[in-house]
């Protein structure tokens, strides 16, 4: 199939970017990123500069790939990262617009590559259980109901890609932050420092320049792992009860 690609070109975070138009011949079996590989190979052949985009595992789990495809983070398929998107979902003659995740807290570094280190700093603010190596009791001494383990797993399956931020009109990181808060606060191991955790993580999230929750649920709709907005409600509950509790000020 013949495709027209409009791809974002930007030298670095200091300069302005613009779209570049390229034609490409693709096959239905290719993945979206393989299609970009082919484009880059063609550009290199002409001694040009390939487009920078981030990718690594190409099986939808590392969270490295990003990009907004025709206005949607990770493209048109539900529950699918860009690397798992295949060209059989496009047809001959299509025009595809490819741009980086857009958010103040995710500055563009080059072309389609953005800086998502704010997410690391939110986790560093408290997204962990304070247990050092060697301090653990026997695994079965902490019994966890199957449903609770399942819900914690669902929240913990966030891949930290940032699509939720890119999808949100306010570029809010509520879904990402709440997924971690909820993963840990569901489990008895994480509940001990729950109040402290939620306050610190929310404070860091605000400091990084993410916007407020827009209540549009765009984050859940675009999340390639189906992380539910229920986590946001859980986090809000945790947060308010932490703010009013006197035990942890």
């Amino acid at each position: 199939m013949k495709l027209t690609l409009k791809i974002w070109r930007q030298k670095n975070s200091q300069t302005k970017g613009k779209f570049e138009v390229h034609k490409i011949e693709a096959t239905p079996e290719m993945s979206f990123l393989e299609m970009l590989d082919v484009l880059n190979e063609e550009i290199i052949e002409k001694k040009g500069e390939p487009f920078a985009f981030e990718h690594d595992c190409r099986e939808g789990i590392c969270g490295t790939c990003s990009m907004v495809i025709n206005g949607q983070p990770h493209g048109p398929m539900a529950l699918t990262t860009t690397c798992q998107l295949h060209m059989r979902h496009y047809k001959d003659g299509d025009t595809i617009v490819i741009e980086p995740f857009r958010a103040n807290a995710f500055p563009v570094l080059k072309d389609l590559v953005v800086d998502r280190s704010a997410f690391d700093r939110i986790i560093q603010a408290g997204g962990f259980v304070s247990v050092s190596t060697g301090q653990a009791p026997d695994g079965n001494s902490i019994l966890i109901e199957q449903d609770v383990a399942r819900d914690a797993f669902d929240a913990a399956s966030c891949i930290g890609c940032g699509a939720c931020v890119a999808a949100c009109p306010n570029a809010s990181a509520m879904l990402f932050t709440s997924a971690k808060v909820s993963h840990l606060s569901l489990l008895p191991q994480g509940q001990v420092e729950g109040a402290k955790r939620v306050k610190k993580m929310v404070a860091q999230m605000d400091k990084e320049g993410f916007g407020n929750c827009s209540n549009t649920y765009a984050c859940e709709a675009e999340c390639p792992k189906g992380i539910s907005v229920e986590n946001i409600a859980k986090m809000n509950r945790e947060y308010f009860s932490a703010m009013v509790s006197t035990s942890d000020k």
Binding site: Q84, H86, R88, T133, G134
Partner: protein, 666 residues
């Protein structure tokens, strides 16, 4: 001349580690604060080591080329992690895990290391649970287990099909905690390009800041390599695109030895290659073999009919199917170890019975499992276990709960629905057992240079058992290195911090810069990617699932010729001091050329078949692998030599506790 000393402690195998731990030199807390450690890599091994060392009080600098430590490829491990907990009361024990691992590795691993691994395995589960890793649970709230290839007990702990992700996030969170406490300085987007030695000891690294392209020096009292395996030398593998050998290979070029590089694991259940633009292969977890049955048609006419799409596999009658693993290996059936399952798949495809266009695929079928689970569910919920529709629906639900995410991945990639039609799978490069030679302390032959996780060679011999990679990575990082690193650092408590302005740093940095400029200045006609693809094919064809002397020699010649062309005709766009992914690729491929050649040399030296290494010259009458313990019961540790052939050093393997047997899964 290097003398290999594995430094295995005295005493009975079950007491070695315990006694050694209690008698080794320690570093006092006040001194730990003065000692600096560099850790390269943030997968399970690197992240867990960084966190644990920082908790102990060492000053840690941790490096990853990713934008975040959470992206390391450990994240993609699906199936699970082994531990000798015996929660199932099925006769598991430390000894049995030790035995299974030595046997599974085809008797090419070091007993003492493997026993230690089995000993600490149970602690890993406890640690991960305490961190909040959401392992699968039973109805009563206890931890659930499943069984994995090559063993007869259920000792694999799992978190759906995303165990690696959950364990890595646990380690990443522990690391993040230490970053927040100021105990770890985290360097994202930094790629290690060389080791710096001062007076013969590893005292720092040169890393390239991938955003600015600047080369930066970092000094410490010792260096830990946790950079993973080198499967991407084959270009197509289940590894992440950016996984590479460079950190380990640069260590090898600075005097560390590379052990058993030809031991590569080919995983039997991957999605087959579909096109020439393919950039990577995707694994379907081995856990699927618990419930899936592997088969190909018996009759050639059926093979041709399914290939052309005239016949659907579900329409092939039971008696016309060859469940070849169950037929050949009745004791283990579909759960034979990976190397055995891979070779068996190759064999039936070589016979012409492969089930896709390219003839390189076999079926993995869940139909029977769906019905079996469905009947059980129907029975226990008081429904009719003979009603096909109900049974099928209930059974599908059970399979979905167990493997839902894997089935989804499969459908996304292939467009086929594995609940309705069998999966098509084929073996692919997945893991590398070989790696930097380390002693019992996990120290390489360069003092102060340690290697952990997949980057070292120590625990899996010639074949790794399923769910053991996660176990080893975390064992090394949480429970082994934090102790053994003290054997080196305890001698350094009076050594002040090293300055990165030492002449050794300046010299090494200049060498790295020259190397990168050399690649940029070739300005030839071919892309890095095209060289990598061709290199991968050479290795797959001549040093892949099946090897022989003639092919290996030819492969080496082809590789050398291609390497020569690389250095005269590669085109690397852009500049040194900018964000330049093509230059990153070029340095990786340059190192893969040298490692690839070493793999061939190693495979040629080892004229026996063991584990993942199958030499056609060494097989039994019924074409099973034939080991040669008399001549090859050694670790082959290689010293790279720019001028001539690599130099071989042998560490003889002594088996006092496991009797060497022909590995049989029949």
């Amino acid at each position: 001349m290097i003398k290999l000393d594995a430094k295995i402690p005295e005493g009975h195998i079950s007491e070695k580690w315990m006694k050694y731990k209690s008698s080794m030199d320690l570093v006092a807390p006040n001194n730990k604060r003065k000692l600096e450690v560099i850790v390269v890599g943030t997968g399970l091994a690197g992240a867990s080591a960084s966190a644990s060392l920082a908790e102990l009080g060492y000053k840690v600098k941790t490096f990853t080329f990713h934008d975040s430590p959470r992206r390391a490829h450990s994240i993609a491990a699906q199936g699970g992690i082994n531990a000798a907990k015996n929660y199932r009361n099925d006769g598991d024990s430390v000894h049995r895990l030790f035995y299974d691992t030595v046997k599974g590795g085809d008797y090419r691993s070091r007993e003492a290391n493997v026993h230690r691994l089995a000993e600490v395995s149970a602690n890993i589960i406890d640690q991960c649970v305490a961190q909040g890793v959401p392992f699968a649970r039973e109805y009563g709230g206890t931890l659930d287990n499943r069984s994995f290839g090559g063993v007869q007990v259920s000792r694999t702990f799992y978190a759906r099909g995303q165990t690696g992700q959950q364990l890595l996030i646990g380690a990443y969170q522990a690391l993040s905690r230490q970053v927040s406490l100021g105990n770890v300085e985290m360097y994202n987007r930094h790629e290690m390009l060389d080791v710096v030695k001062v007076d013969g000891k590893a005292r720092g690294i040169i890393a390239r800041n991938l955003l600015t392209g600047e080369l930066e020096s970092f000094a410490a009292h010792c260096v830990v390599i946790a950079s993973g395996g080198y499967g991407n030398v084959y270009y197509l593998s289940t590894n992440a695109m950016n996984s590479n050998v460079s950190a380990a290979w640069r260590a090898a070029r600075r005097g560390a030895l590379m052990a058993n590089p030809c031991f590569c694991q080919i995983h039997p259940t991957c999605i087959p290659v579909s096109g020439t633009y393919q950039s990577k292969l995707t694994l379907m977890s081995e856990s699927l073999r618990n419930d899936g049955r592997v088969w190909v048609p018996k009759k050639m006419e059926d093979v041709e009919a399914v290939r052309s799409g005239k016949l659907k596999p579900i329409d092939i009658a039971e008696e016309d199917r060859d469940y070849y693993l169950e037929r050949k290996y009745p004791a283990f059936g579909n759960l034979v170890p990976r190397d055995v399952a891979s070779r068996a798949a190759k064999e039936v495809c070589d016979e012409g019975r492969g089930v896709n266009q390219s003839g390189l695929a076999v079926y993995l079928d869940f139909y029977d499992a769906i019905l079996r689970y469905g009947r059980a569910e129907a029975f226990s919920s008081g429904l009719d276990p003979e009603d096909y529709a109900t049974v099928k629906k209930l059974g599908t639900k059970v399979i979905e709960a167990k493997y839902g995410n894997l089935f989804e991945i499969y459908e996304k990639i292939t467009g086929d629905d594995p609940y309705r039609t069998p999966m098509r799978i084929y073996p692919a490069i997945h893991y590398t057992m070989g790696g930097l030679w380390v002693d019992y302390n996990l120290e390489t032959t360069v003092p102060g240079l340690f290697a952990i996780g997949e980057a070292n060679f120590s625990d899996h011999g010639a074949n790794r058992l399923g769910a053991s990679a996660l176990m080893q990575g975390l064992a090394d990082g949480y429970f082994v290195l934090p102790y053994t690193i003290g054997t080196f650092l305890s001698k350094d408590i009076r050594t002040p911090a090293f300055s990165k302005d030492l002449p050794e740093f300046k010299k090494t940095k200049q060498e790295v810069e020259d190397r990168l400029n050399q690649l940029l200045n070739i300005k030839g006609e071919r892309s890095v990617e095209s060289f990598h693809r061709e290199l991968g094919l050479i290795l797959w064809d001549y040093c892949g699932m099946s090897r022989n002397a003639e092919g290996l020699k030819k492969g080496r010649e082809l590789l050398r010729a291609l390497k020569k062309e690389f250095y005269s005709n590669v085109f690397v766009p852009g500049e040194l001091k900018e964000f330049n992914p093509e230059l990153e690729k070029a340095t990786k491929v340059a190192d893969f050329f040298e490692l690839g050649e070493l793999m061939i040399v190693d495979a040629l030296d080892r004229n026996e078949s063991c584990g993942g290494h199958f030499r056609e010259e060494s097989q039994t009458e019924d074409n099973e692998a034939k080991r040669d313990d008399e001549n090859y019961a050694y670790v082959a540790a290689w010293q790279w030599n720019d001028e001539g052939d690599p130099v071989l050093f042998k560490e003889p393997l002594v088996f006092d506790n496991v009797k060497l047997k022909t590995r049989s899964y029949k």
